[in-house]
Amino acid sequence: MTIDYSGINVNLEHILPELIVVVFSILVILIDLFTRGRQNKNNLLAGVSIVGYVLSFLACILYFGNNIGGSLFGGSTVFNTEAFNRMVVMDNMGLFFRMLSLGTAIVTVLLSTQYIKDRGFAIGEYYAVLGLATCGMMFTASATDLTSLFVGIELMSIAVYILTGFARADKLSNEAAMKYFLLGIFSTAILVYGMAWLYGMTGYTNLRQIGGKVAEIAAQGGGITANGGLVLAIMLLIAGLGFKIAAVPFHMWTPDAYQGAPTPVTAFLSVGPKAAGFAATVRIMVEALGPAWQTWVPIAIVICILTMTVGNVIAVTQRSVKRMLAYSSIAHTGYILIGLASYTPTTSEQAISSILFYLFSYLFMNMGAFGIVVWLQRNGGTDSLDSFRGLSQWAPGPAALMLLFMLSLTGIPPTIGFLGKYYVFVSALNSGLWWLAVIGALNSAIAAFYYLRVIWYMYFEDARVQRPQRSSPTLVWTLVGAAIAVLVFFVVSWPIIDVARLSLPTIAAVVGGGR
């Protein structure tokens, strides 16, 4: 018996972006051991982390260029095939999510530097764990096998649990980490159970091979619904993935984790793991279960409506801005799910690209909003709505930035948030789900209320205290950068949309392949 190794392809170039991030994370720990002085250490380690992320980002851009026909590697080297025995792939969708993760990580580092110094966190560990979480997100995005997907999700999740509880002296942070951890492993167990059923029903762990098998099952007499095991697998997977993206009714951990976590970590949490969760969702639902779309799309629609509505309605009652943003983040999961819910084989391009674009837009506006909370906490405020009272009087600049981020989250032009909503609504109408778009629109009106409340506290109320402002140039310039991105990508959105349209998952129905 001969074993054919030719398809295994262990070329390390296929995981180069992840490798760069891992190497720099380890580098951070090593440098941490050999430097003295908190100020120096903080600047140095933040700098090293960012260099790592930027290098990795550049690598992603090069691969992306190569995939769409650039000639950097001589134009002949093909990377967008599955490697490591069909475990990972360097396809455009994976690269898009990798770049999103890296962008999130860069912004998080910039938001964190002052914060972790002020609060006395362990500096080296913070940046290293953040790097590993990013690495996990990137692996999740590139995985094409249930096992590698699971490993990616776990690497991300465990690192994020640690980050959530990083404020060791803070009870809220500990509580948040514990809740997040317990519910997280619970959901992971459900996810893995679903994966086991999926494997049992199809006989493959590779997503594209599963897709081929599911297509076969769908073509048989009774279709998908006749295969109870597969339906169970779909349900379990939706539940497991729903936890990761914070969809209702699997959202219970979100408010506590978001409120308790150190604010820069919350910013990271609200974008990074959510994006990775959506990467996993798209991989599993579209690449593996795409042929079964008629089974899971109705469930996705119900979850989508619930998520939008519950998130928005509960957000209205919140007095803590972090908690409010947590519920708003749930609601935004709902808007993104409109994209997934409008998936059909013929409208997949519009559906998936609207998800990708929304996540891109969400990165800037949501991290910006959390960044303002970080700024406020540094200047003597808390995350309660009362801290925002009269902000425009003693800090007109940050107030104006927050105004912009709130408008963007509401979806009011000229901000990128409007475009994100526009594309998911286009996607819904494109699939004939006009009522879903109407529900989304009405939800945006509900959401306007609580975003507007922040604006009114900042602008309409009088300040009770005039606080002196401590200078925090890194933070402020990061927020200005995010604000510029919110405006600029509104005007020049087409490059991003083009990239999103080029970053579609491989629809597997044609990939059969026996063993």
């Binding site: 009087q393 408008l407 286009v426 109408l429 006009w434 109407v438 959105s493 087409w494």
Partner: protein, 525 residues
């Protein structure tokens, strides 16, 4: 696509739209409050001049060969903004209606800036920035010829207006600002869904293209799109029963806010109906015309009757706005309704609606200015606190009277022309509707004269005895508004010649769609 621009591609409209934003950004770098006021006023004045120049150019071109017969969009600008497959263009252009509204906007903005000179002492820079941003949004709405661009400007208006009410308003301002924001946003979002539906139907959002393609849509599609449009526009007009945000917003807004709100923002809804709903979904419009007419009649009567019992002067004028804007929608939809009965060339209703729009902008803007002048001196809006003001303020009383008489609809003022034409249209459509609306002539005379008597005559209230008379700015602004109103009232023909092609075009489109009309009973089945 033919890009019609008599200035050879010179982007005069974009300049007008973005000039306020540039002015506002300049204000960021100015420290001195007095300098801020001057710069804002100069910016607004330049914009007024530019808009008047555009009007003159437009008239001189299209009246060159006699009275124009068709609606022409000029000063167009076009470039591709979001390329294929999204296919959205940055398209600007103005017809006669848009240019008239532009002039109204620039005029009222300048007046608002001038009358805020003394009353606004709190956060002066932000105040003028907000007004200028608001102006940019309003101008953008009138001249966009791409739905996407239009929607952007439409939403941009929302935030500065809410800030204007919420920061510089009176006691209950937060409630009013939030109510205003949420009401208008809910309507707009439904319109957004309709816009996307149109986009997917036709693959373009260019308004001129949609005006050609839209009437061919299936009638159910048109009905639903019209309803979504109506949700946005009816809130903005505001039509009864979506009007409840208006009195709150007006009462709490500062004077400049009220002037802009009454003068320009309320025109957005009617403008939306004229520019989008009627030409793009004519069958939908015709289907729902009876309902819209009914709501308009209710608004006219209800607004007038509520005005009658208002103890608050500003609220009284606000409700009179509801009544007057009812005339606008009445004119528009009786025009459509008429058509159904076979009066193909009966443009009176729509002509009247447009004249009422302009006239209401001038006169009600002026009335709010008058109320603001009292409020600055008395710090009360209650009619009971006033009385006998004519004695210390004779000039002011005289100008107030002109505004009041114009609003009543006295022949010789623009209000009369508009309301007369509208009622003519209404009578020709249905005599019951016509008869009901004429009642309001009596009511409006009643509440306005009575208000005038209680404010300016009667027993002189001791608090008002030492009031100084109208300042030059107040008097000058009121004179300009009054003269314009008189001009339209005495010589309406040039104005009617300008707008007649637009109403004619609308009716042609709608009558072509008549075979496509559902009856209401069918729709609800």
């Amino acid at each position: 696509m033919a890009i019609n621009n008599m200035l050879g591609g010179f982007p005069i409209l974009s300049i007008m739209v973005y000039m306020p934003i540039v002015t506002a950004l300049v204000l960021l770098f100015v420290k001195n409050n007095q300098a801020i006021r001057r710069i804002a006023a100069i910016g607004a004045a330049i914009n007024l001049v530019v808009s008047v120049v555009a009007l003159v150019f437009y008239i001189s071109k299209y009246f060159n060969a006699g009275i124009p017969q068709e609606q022409s969009f000029d000063f167009q600008e076009y470039f591709v903004w979001l390329p294929d497959p999204i296919n959205i263009g940055y398209h600007m252009g103005a017809d006669a209606l848009a240019i008239l509204l532009l002039v109204l906007t620039t005029l009222l903005t300048l007046i608002s800036i001038l009358v805020s000179w003394e009353p606004i002492q709190k956060r002066v820079r932000e105040y003028y920035m907000v007004i200028l941003f608001l102006q940019a949004g309003m101008m953008g709405v009138f001249v966009s010829l791409d739905f996407f661009v239009f929607y952007i400007f439409w939403e941009i208006m929302l935030v500065p207006m809410a800030l204007l009410i919420g920061i510089w308003g009176s006691s209950n301002r937060v409630y009013a600002a939030v109510k205003f924001f949420l009401y208008t946003l809910s309507g707009s979002l439904l319109m957004l869904v309709a816009i996307i539906a149109l986009y997917l139907q036709h693959g373009t959002l260019d308004i001129l293209m949609l005006q050609q393609l839209g009437p061919g849509d299936p009638r159910d599609f048109q009905n639903w799109v019209f309803l979504a449009f109506a949700a946005a526009f009816a809130v903005k007009v505001p039509m009864w029963p979506f009007h409840t945000w208006l009195p709150d917003a007006h009462v709490e807004a500062p004077t400049a806010g009220s002037i802009i709100l009454a003068g320009v923002l309320l025109k957005m809804g009617a403008f939306g109906f004229i520019r989008f709903a009627l030409p793009i979904t004519p069958a939908g419009t015709a289907t729902f015309a009876p309902i819209m007419v009914g709501l308009s009649v209710i608004a006219i009567l209800y607004g007038a009757m509520v005005s009658l019992v208002q103890p608050d002067l500003k609220k009284l004028i606000a409700y009179s706005s509801v009544s007057h804007m009812g005339f606008v929608t009445l004119g528009l939809f009786t025009g459509v309704w008429l058509n159904e009965l076979g009066y193909g060339a009966a443009t009176q209703g729509i002509d009247g609606a447009i004249v009422v729009m302009l006239s209401h902008g001038l006169l009600t803007g002026g009335l709010f200015l008058c109320v603001g002048a009292i409020y600055n001196r008395l710090h009360s809006r209650l009619i009971a606190d006033m009385g006998g003001m004519a004695k210390p303020m004779p000039v002011y009383a005289m100008l107030f009277m002109i505004m009041m008489l114009g609003s009543v609809g006295l022949p010789g003022f623009s209000g009369f022309i508009g309301e007369f034409l509208t009622m003519l249209g209404a009578f020709r459509a249905n005599w019951v509707v016509g008869a009901l609306t004429t009642i309001v002539i009596i009511l409006s005379a009643w509440y306005l004269f009575w208000m005038f008597q209680r404010v300016l005559f009667n027993k002189t209230n001791s608090a008002v005895r030492n009031f100084r008379d109208a300042s030059p700015i107040e008097a000058g602004s009121l004179i300009v508004l009054g003269v314009l109103s008189l001009l339209i009232g005495i010589l309406p023909t040039p104005l009617l010649d300008m707008i007649n092609p637009i109403s004619h075009q609308l009716l042609t489109v709608v009558s072509a769609a008549i075979p496509n009309v559902t009856t209401l009973a069918d729709f609800f089945k």
